[in-house]
Structures are given as C-alpha cells and as structure tokens.
C-alpha cells in the first residue's frame, strides 16, 4: 500500500478493509475513554497504579489464554481484583506505592505461573504486551463499546465528587464524601479502561493513551472540563494518525501512537513556558517547620 496525493482517496482505500474499520472503531472508543480516565489518573498522580493495573492485566490475559477463554475476560477480572485490592490495602491515595507494588508483584507472579503452564503461547503474549489493534474482531468492538459506555456513564455520575476528592482530599472528606468508596470506583474505572486500551497499545505502552495525553492537556488547560476534552482530542488524533500511518508504513501502530504523543508532550513541555510565562512565581510549599520559639504558647 502506498500514499496517494489525495487524502480522501487514501482514507477511502484504507477503510475498505474490515480490519481497518474495526481498528478505527475500537481505537476511537478506547481513545475517548483513555483520555477521560487518564485525566483523573494524572490529577490523582496515580500513573503507577495505571501502570501496575495494565501489567496485572497481562497476568489475567495469560490465565485466560491458558483456560482457553477470551483474554479480555482475564484482563477485566485481574485488573478489577487488583485495583480493589490496592485500594483496600492502602486506603489513602497518597502513599499507596508500596501496596500497589505488593499487589503487582504477586499478580505478576501468577502470570509467570500461567505462562509456564501454557505450552502453545508466543503470539498471544506478544499481542497483549504490544497491542493487536489490527486483529480486532467485530465481537471485540462490541465488548469495547459496552465497556466504554459503562465507563462514560460512571464518570458522568462521579465526575464532581471524584474531581473534588482528587484535588482536595481533606476538604472533600469533611464535606461528607467517602474517600475509600471513591478510591475503589476510581480504581475500577482505571481497571476497565486499561482492559480495553490494552487491545490498542498493549500492556507495556498503556501510558501513551492513559497518561501522556492527559498530562499534555493538564499543562494547557486550567479548567478540568477543558482539560478532559483536550485530553480526549489528543488521544483521538494520536490513535487515528497512528492507525493511518501504520496502514501505509510497515511498522507497528503502537509505535506511531506512542511516538506522536511523546513528541507532543516534549513540545508542550519545553515550548509552553516560553509562550505563557505564568509560572514565574511558582512556589513549592513545603511543610512549614516552625522555628522553636520560647515565646509560644
């Protein structure tokens, strides 16, 4: 396949193929969901949790392959259990690293066991690690669509409390919000989003859709709603562009997607401070160590 001078003809040519149609459908759904959930991941500084959940998903997918069922079921089961487990073990969002690491290591251990038990294996594991967007079936698209709808509905319900809890945990708690419950809801959202995003970029490259677009958006937009929309636009553009380029060039889709968002991130990271000198007075507030004074009560 080669590029022509006319973009429309290129698109038409590309979308003649059913596997490309499915790739675009699933890719679009995943980009929207990852862009939205990713914003909360970045805001809550939970990228390690997202990273861990995707790797846990790998173990789940390996288990599903071993049992001869769809990998997506294994992904969903393991990421959900792992996400809830992390929240139960470490109720406060800050300082949850150790609990995440503990759960991650245990569940990856299970993954090792599953792989050693499975004798056929190779391509399945590879596609879970790096994504298999060009091999998506109509059923996969349907599963992705249902999962995406569930996530969108859940986000619509918890949007304000989750935002408030992510920004200002202590005040939100005093206002009557249950941090533990919101933490579990958030982890389940990440688990679900991760499970479907793995199809597109794979376990190892999940950040390119779940973290990088949101991180770029957060730098550019000062209002959460705008940042969410921007994050979705960035991951959509990266996915569409990645799919299109990969159709004409003999390199993997996930490579193009990760490269596009990374280049964008680097550009924004280094160019933005020059465009907007708002942060001249950036202050890092530290815990104020009061000077011990004898004249204090």
């Amino acid at each position: 396949m080669s590029w022509s001078a006319n973009v429309l003809i290129d698109l038409e040519q590309m979308l003649q193929y059913q596997f490309m149609q499915h790739a675009f459908e699933a890719g679009t759904l995943v980009a929207i969901v990852a862009g939205i959930v990713g914003y909360f991941v970045v805001l809550r500084r939970s990228s390690f949790a997202a990273h861990a959940l995707s790797h846990i998903g790998f173990a789940g997918a390996a288990g599903a392959v071993l049992l001869g069922i769809s990998p997506v079921i294994g992904l969903l089961a393991f990421t959900s259990v792992g996400g809830v487990g992390m929240t139960v073990l470490g109720p406060r969002a800050s300082n949850r690293d150790v609990q995440i690491g503990t759960v991650l290591a245990f569940m990856l251990g299970l993954g090792v066991l599953f792989i050693s038990l499975y004798t056929g294996y190779a391509t399945e594991a590879y596609s879970i690690l790096f994504g298999e967007i060009l091999g998506i079936s109509a059923t996969d698209v349907l599963v992705t669509a249902i999962a995406a709808l569930v996530i969108l509905f859940a986000v619509a319900v918890v949007y304000r409390p989750l935002l408030f809890a992510s920004l200002d945990e202590d005040v939100a708690e005093a206002k009557g919000l249950h941090m533990h419950m919101l933490g579990i809801v958030f982890m389940l959202l990440v688990a679900l989003a991760t499970s479907i995003a793995v199809q597109v970029v794979g376990v190892l490259l999940i950040f390119s859709l779940m973290v990088t677009p949101a991180a770029i958006a957060q730098r550019l937009a000062k209002r959460p709603w705008r940042a969410v929309v921007l994050s979705v636009i960035i991951s959509l553009v990266a996915t569409w562009l990645g799919l299109t380029v990969a159709f004409y060039e003999p390199y993997p889709v996930s490579f193009f997607i990760t490269t596009i968002v990374f280049v964008l991130y680097v550009l924004v990271r280094f160019l933005q401070p020059k465009i907007k000198p708002i942060r001249a007075r950036q202050t890092a507030l530290q815990v104020g160590q009061m000077a011990p004074s004898e004249i204090t009560a």
Partner: protein, 277 residues
C-alpha cells in the same frame, strides 16, 4: 505596634441572647486504646473568634475532627446547632492543615472554590452558573477576586491560604474551622490573614476556630481560647484562661504565664507531651 492593640475584645453582647453555637460537656477524645484529652467543657457563641492553641500533638486537630463528625468522642457530648456533629454539614467550613500543593496542579482558583460549592453532588451539572457566582462571591470576601483565573501552582503561601478560606466560605457556613492557617506564612502575611479572618468573622457573624502555635498574633482579635495540653483542655476568654493560677491548678504543676510590656504572652512550665499514653 502599640500596647493598646493587644487588649482582647469583649465577648459579643449577642451571646447572652442567642443559645451557644457549639457546646461540649465533659468530652473525652481519642482512640479506643489511647485517650488524647479528657474533661473538656466549652461553649462557643455565634460571631466569636476562638484560638485553639497548645503544644504539638496535644490533640488540636482531634477537636476539629470531632466537630466535623469524622471522629466520635469516647464519652461526653458535643452539640453543634443543638445537634450531634455530622459529616458533610454544610454549615461548617473547613481549612485543613496543608502540606504541599502539587506543582503540576495548574487548575485555576475559581475551579477549586467552585468544587467546594458543588463537589459533593453526584451527577453532572448542565450549568455551573450559580456555583461559579457563589465561588466569585467567596473569593471577593477574602479579597481574592483577582486570583480567580490564576492557576493554583502560581500562588504564594498567603494567597493560597486566602483561596482555602474562600473554599471554606463558599457554602456560607456559620462555623469556620481553620487548622494552622498561619504556619507557612511570614509574620506580615500571618498578620494580614488574621485580620482577614477577623473581618470575615465580624461581617458574616460566623464563629471561627483557628488552630495556631503562637497565640500572640491573634490576641488582639480573640474572644476565646481553647488551650489543649497534657491531655487536658482549658476554655474561656484569654483573660480567664491565660493566668498562672488557672493553668497551674488545671495541670497540677507550676505553670507561669508571663506578659511582656507589649502584651505578648508566654506560657512556661508545660512541655510538649503526647496526651495520656
């Protein structure tokens, strides 16, 4: 600073008419295996500025957690508006003890204050107009109208405390709980913030409890003091509480309250101590 500025205000006259806003009777606070303090009885009226002072770890924040309904007293009763404290009471505005504001959080101030107005509600809002307006009013009340579009990570410590105060005020509360709002501020900014809190207390007729390490910047504005140390609590006007006799009797040891020529107070004889262990 003149010596006259350091005299404390008289308790508001209205207090004799209205019932007390917050009352505590023989409250024992702490956790099942550890009492933090005991025997606290107090009565705080509408429109009072109250300092909560005492050494580190004495249980000042514990008092706030009780009032917020985040923790239950081991025994004794606390009443707010004649009811037991409950979580999510919109009539209480709270500024927790902050440590670090994330440098990556460039969300604008108005959004944070707006979330304090509606962030506890489920579902989506189609129009954020009312909430934004409430947030603007709260920002104006703390003299921070011009901060509304600024990102949180571009603020100074003093500006940040004003935003937190606006966040607490946005639900139009009757009670403000401010946990160490002065701890990150230099003396001048601390003075400005105390004056601001005083203005808010007087103009909105709210009762503000303010946790502080040092009572002296607060003395000119205070109606009452809650002094928490060594597992015991003394409450009353500064003149009642901050005397050698009262504190010595309470703590059963020789405590000396010294006043300098400017009216500054120093309490000597009570060391940092972590409750009744």
């Amino acid at each position: 600073m003149t010596a006259t500025m350091k005299t404390t205000r008289p308790v508001a006259l209205a207090a004799t008419v209205e019932p007390a806003l917050i009352t505590g009777q023989e409250v024992v606070a702490g956790y099942p295996n550890k009492v933090v303090w005991r025997g606290a009885s107090f009565s705080l009226d509408r429109g009072e500025l109250v300092a909560v002072i005492g050494p580190n770890g004495a249980g000042k924040t514990t008092l706030f957690r009780l009032l917020l309904g985040l923790q239950q007293p081991i025994s004794g009763t606390i009443k707010i508006f004649n009811e037991a404290p409950r979580r999510g009471n919109p009539r209480i505005g709270y500024v927790p003890q902050r440590h670090v504001i994330d440098r990556e959080t460039n969300i604008e101030c108005l959004e944070l204050v707006h979330l304090a107005y509606c962030g506890h509600l489920w579902g989506f809002h189609l129009s954020a107009k009312t909430g934004r307006q409430a947030a603007r009013v709260a920002l104006e009340a703390v003299g921070g109208a011009e901060l509304a579009p600024k990102p949180l990570n571009a603020l100074s410590g003093g500006e940040l405390q004003r935003i937190f105060l606006a966040e607490a005020l946005v639900s139009d509360p009757a009670i403000l709980l401010l946990d160490e709002p002065l701890s990150n501020l230099d003396i001048r900014r601390a003075q400005e913030l105390v004056q601001l809190v005083d203005r808010v207390v007087r103009s909105r007729n709210v009762t503000a409890l303010l946790v502080a390490h040092d009572i002296n910047p607060l003395l000119p504005y205070l109606n009452k003091v809650v002094y928490i140390a060594n597992g015991k609590v003394a409450t009353g006007t500064p003149q009642e509480v901050l005397t050698s006799e009262r504190l010595s009797a309470l703590y059963d040891t020789h405590v000396e309250v010294i006043r300098d020529s400017r009216g500054n107070v120093a309490i000597i004889g009570i060391e940092d101590h972590h409750g009744d262990e």
